[in-house]
Symmetry: C2
Subunit: 700 residues, 2 copies
């Protein structure tokens, strides 16, 4: 546990710099919250123009605040920040929360002040949360440095947010529902303390059972990956990512002044580090609450007990859409259900006890279901009825839950008449959802976490010996040129042991014929000319040349054609390549993500690439499991395994090519993109051949 962060949550004393006596000021709200929720340490408002606020003695200057004081909450204008930092340093305070906005997020001078503040903090060994944040809450120590109205009850969820407003909204949303939290941390601009710091801190705090995050962007990709990977093994991390598409990214950018980065890379990273991603804010807490209160499901078979067939139908639809299924209740279970339920009740799953279902009916049904080995998850559903008290039903559910380790997720499909019952269930640690369609995503997330937890520890694929000097040669001779064609890229592939289709560059027609003769007919000719981007669209490719004469005349034809169409193109000659036998065409490649580094890709190759969008991504370094997964999740991967009687292709050759390409990307940071399309894959044991490739270098 990083002890430098402890004072943000469990300080011995807190100074409020900029404490105001006016109730319409944020600092007034902060003092109120510090006083209100049981925090036992010292509380020291600082303001040269006040004696007492809310009955608390005010200090004119920080230096007069008595020991111990180890946290400062700053609500002073941006122009006073640097002086304030110095005062804190003088007083020996190493933890500062800057609530004030007007830094990097507004651009201009704000950027400069933020940089200076950070330099000062670094130089003096101080940690800073913010600026432009709403502070922290710790439900154990009772500390609340925010001005948010209300504080959630104590519970399992630590919430990290890059938006202060989202913190406030969340409190307002969940307060009445009795969903419990251990911490809130609003990080604002993340000048110093980052989401990765907080993941690490909460990961090590036994008070935290699950970490929920509202994320706009990651500062340090490698650090995030390392901490998320480590902590995911200890407890679940549930993530809501904003800026998932261009519009969202633009909104994030205008919000924080930082770039959202490539969402594709984020998804790959979440996948590889066990971070459970959700789609909506409601889902963030629906999922976190279930992970914080319930055991992980032992499987995907759900038993439903309902008083309303329609609600059960919606739930069944939703479960199936989220990869779960209806449990097949055993004959014994169905027989015992029949013993006590309404004779018209349905005792096959979903168990429909009809509108008049009483609390005792629910208890009986749940007790039978929990004993059935075919059942992994219990899902009771109540739609409020005129003659049944929802609270009584909730109590029956809780009574059942206490008897079983099986996951229980419940639905009270109402609002007005179920508020009390909902609070009761949440308080009892039984997640309750308002709509049946909220249950499926929760179960899917719980199962995803369970699957991750069972995966072997990430172990990067062992690097193979590579001829790095050959690659260095290509890169060094191509200074100033950012786009590498097949001719140069082949060398990189060769150096990493990825087999290219046999071929060589011919400078003139006789040489082309000689090369063709050597590698064997039929051959293809491909123009090599700077300034000609799409060889194929430009008519720069000839296929299936069967003899030396065709190669000679083909060479002339190609070069003349390109010369007349692209007068400025520098023609280096043509690649003469053996026509490769047909096989399954896949694409493998790499695009370097500014945040997370080399993002590897795999999918269906050839001409369908753009239409199918059958591409999976993972960030290097890759483990063998990463590579297997990225192949398995695509249609291309299914075809590699063989469909409808076609034989299994050489998947190992594809795996090796992906591993080798990722190694090249890790070895040579100047490679910005590299792509093999198509890599033609042959039947098992017969390998794969790169038929075309290209690369892009980083502008230096």
């Amino acid at each position: 546990m990083n002890s430098s962060l402890i004072p943000f949550f469990k300080p011995q004393g807190v100074a409020i710099l900029g404490a105001s006596s006016k109730p319409n000021k944020l600092s007034y709200g902060i003092l109120e919250n510090l006083l209100k929720y049981g925090y036992q340490g010292g509380i020291y408002p600082v303001n040269p123009n006040a004696q007492e606020i809310l009955g608390v003695k005010v200090y004119p200057v920080l230096v007069q605040v008595p020991e111990p004081v180890d946290l400062a909450v700053v609500v002073l204008p941006v122009g006073m920040i640097l002086d304030t930092m110095r005062e804190c340093a003088d007083r020996g305070i190493k933890a500062v929360i800057i609530i004030t906005g007007g830094f990097r997020e507004v651009g201009g001078e704000g950027v400069e002040i933020e940089r200076k503040t950070l330099d000062f903090a670094r130089a003096h060994g101080m940690r800073v949360i913010g600026p432009n944040c709403v502070g922290t809450m710790d439900m154990r120590s009772g500390l609340n440095t925010t001005f948010i109205k209300g504080m959630p009850p104590r519970g399992p969820i630590a919430f990290i947010s890059q938006s202060g407003a989202v913190c406030g909204g969340v409190v307002d949303l969940i307060l009445e529902s009795e969903i419990g939290f251990s911490h809130f941390a609003s990080l604002g601009n993340e000048m110093d303390v980052s989401e990765a710091d907080m993941i690490a801190y909460f990961g090590d705090d036994p008070d935290v059972k699950v970490i929920a995050i509202y994320l706009e962007g990651v500062q340090d990709g490698a650090r995030f990956i390392a901490e998320a990977r480590r902590v995911s093994r200890i407890k679940p991390i549930v993530m809501l990512k904003a800026g998932r598409n261009n519009a969202g990214a633009r909104a994030v950018s205008s919000h924080t002044g930082s770039l959202a980065g490539s969402y594709t890379a984020y998804q790959a990273v979440f996948n590889q580090t066990g971070v459970i991603e959700v789609e909506t804010l409601a889902e963030l807490f629906n999922v976190a609450w279930a992970l914080g209160t319930q055991n992980l499901p032992t499987g995907k078979r759900v038993a439903i007990a309902t008083n309303a067939g329609g609600a059960a139908a919606l739930l069944a639809d939703n479960l199936a859409a989220n990869g779960a299924e209806l449990a097949e209740l055993s004959a014994e279970t169905q027989t015992s259900l029949r013993l006590k339920l309404n004779p018209s009740a349905q005792v096959a799953n979903p168990v429909d006890m009809l509108g008049g279902a009483e609390p005792a009916d629910y208890l009986w049904s749940l007790e039978q279901m929990m004993r059935d080995d075919n059942v992994d998850v219990l899902a009771p559903v109540l739609v409020p009825q005129a003659l049944v008290n929802p609270l009584d039903v909730a109590q029956a559910w809780a009574q059942a839950a206490a008897q079983t380790p099986k996951t229980m997720l419940t639905c009270l499909m109402g609002e007005l008449s179920v508020r009390e019952a909902r609070s009761f269930l949440n308080k009892a640690g039984i997640p309750v959802y308002q709509y049946p369609d909220q249950v499926g995503p929760v179960l899917r997330a719980m199962r995803a976490y369970g699957e991750y937890a069972r995966k072997p520890i990430h172990k990067p694929v062992e690097p193979k010996k590579a001829h790095k000097n050959a690659v260095r040669g290509v890169l060094d001779t191509n200074t100033g040129k950012l786009s590498l064609g097949e001719y140069e890229t082949r060398t990189i592939l060769d150096a990493y042991g990825i087999p290219n289709v046999p071929g060589a560059l011919a400078a003139d027609a006789p040489q082309a014929a000689a090369i063709a003769k050597e590698i064997g007919f039929p051959v293809a000719l491909k123009i090599v000319a700077e300034g000609v981007l799409h060889k194929s669209d430009a008519g720069g490719i000839l296929l299936n040349l069967e003899d030396e004469e065709s190669v000679r005349s083909g060479f002339e034809l190609l070069t003349n054609r390109i010369r007349s169409q692209y007068p400025g193109a520098a023609i280096a000659g043509a690649m003469v390549e053996k026509m490769a036998p047909k096989g399954l065409e896949v694409i493998i490649g790499m695009r370097r993500d500014p945040t997370f580094g080399p993002m590897m890709m795999f999918g269906m190759g050839g001409t369908l690439v753009e239409q199918l969008k059958d591409i999976s991504f993972r960030v290097a370094p890759l483990s063998l499991e990463d590579i297997q997964e990225m192949i398995d999740v695509t249609i291309a991967g299914k075809l590699l395994k063989g469909v409808r009687g076609s034989s299994r292709a050489d998947i190992e050759a594809v795996q090796a090519a992906i591993a080798a390409l990722s190694q090249a990307a890790l070895d040579f940071p100047e490679l910005e993109e590299i792509e093999i399309n198509p890599l033609v894959v042959y039947p098992q044991g017969q390998g794969a051949l790169a038929l075309d490739s290209r690369a892009v270098l980083r502008p230096s």
Copy 2:
């Protein structure tokens, strides 16, 4: 307007048959509701054992109830239903709501009683809602025949539900929010009055602005299509379909005893009839409420005004994911925004007025945005803050809304502190959502309805002349055989003008060679043998035979191979077919849906069919627009149009083939399935060829 349904909503007098004086009985709740909400007609409880309930005179028998009485609500046990129907008939009552359950949905004797009740009603010109339902509400007449606690305020939405419990849940969910309804109709088992009846009725009622439906299954597919298509032109129909996958269908089936049918067919029908489908119950009312209160959006460009960047980022993500986009605010708009907003505010969309945003800031922003021609939709967002009163903000939004015809969809991201503001906005007819991610689906649905409303009226493609006798011949000679191979199916295609690859059936090797010589080399041979299902897997196909000798020996090879592998197979010979030139392979076909009839399909053909699942569906009869759409939405359709320089294929030939196949399906109800895979499509003007086909007949 179907006048026989009027008494269910605006009766002159209501009799409650089975009225109880016990407050824990459903009928007591019904009487309470009839008395409570301003219904002005006569209310007549009937019960031989009571004098007065809730201050209302009770009649011992129906015949003593004074005129006028035109609606009976029946809460008597199932065993008394037939007698009760007779009493109603005797009293001249033509409209009966049967609340009681225990009919078809429980199976056994219940099925029989339901059938007899229907027969009686039909014979006596009576209409019945239910059984197994919760009745009706009419917010104009104040009639409430349900026992549901609470009645929503009057508004634009008519709600049709095949689940009574869902009606009750919905009232509980929305009651406090001030979302307004015109009617509730719980249809239960739909013994007589069906969802199509109600769609027609509400379609003709000017009090109804939008129809919302919870649907489990359709009784009469053709009628549903006709009414939905007609009414969708007048007002939107928003649909939540339960039983969308196997699990849901199983739940629906155990709920109502009816089959959910093929969801694929439902989706096709919704698409073709302009029914707007939603995913969740919350979305059903989110969408209906917006359609009922707001103008349709003029486009997809949304302007956001927010006090919280995080919430705006989530909204922007969600809008883009739902096909909308952020409006580019004009320079003028941005300049005027700057005039009054906080200098640190972002004036590019999303307009982020920062945490301290006041009601006046919202009003100013919305006024500037509404005047911007680049803006189609206004989306103000408030996350509750310590120092701003949400109700004041809501009033500013309403003030802005009153000044513009543009669509306004709002978000109050909170619960506790925004309840009052939410009710205020809904009451003012301004839809308000709790989470930013609820806005996008609403806008998508509104735009989908707008698009449908602009489509031309559905006009089935003109049937072409077909040789029906030839098809009749094939069907008649294949009695008892359900599976038709290519040999028989070719005849059907020929009869409808769909070009087959040239070829003919050869009974022996010499005949095969003769046919090959006539149609020209190279040819393919395909075994024709009953009992051999997958010719290709069975090794029953030879390709690229170049001369007569290869054809002869090929024929012997094929027949010997099949004879030895499938000793029981009846070998009729082999099809000799010309090898067709390469082209784009698509699949077209038909599967007859038990509810909706011939469901046509189109998509990518060949070996990728199962992996890609690139198939679209529409129910015949098809309009030309249907055919164009079903091609356009697939990847195959995009490839037909030409990608990356490849030329446009003969889309007209594909359209003609789909039209012809749908005509065959309409002409011959005994065709259960028919499929052409592949149909090879050539460049524009060069047609398409059926390379293989098969059909399945209906068991007689």
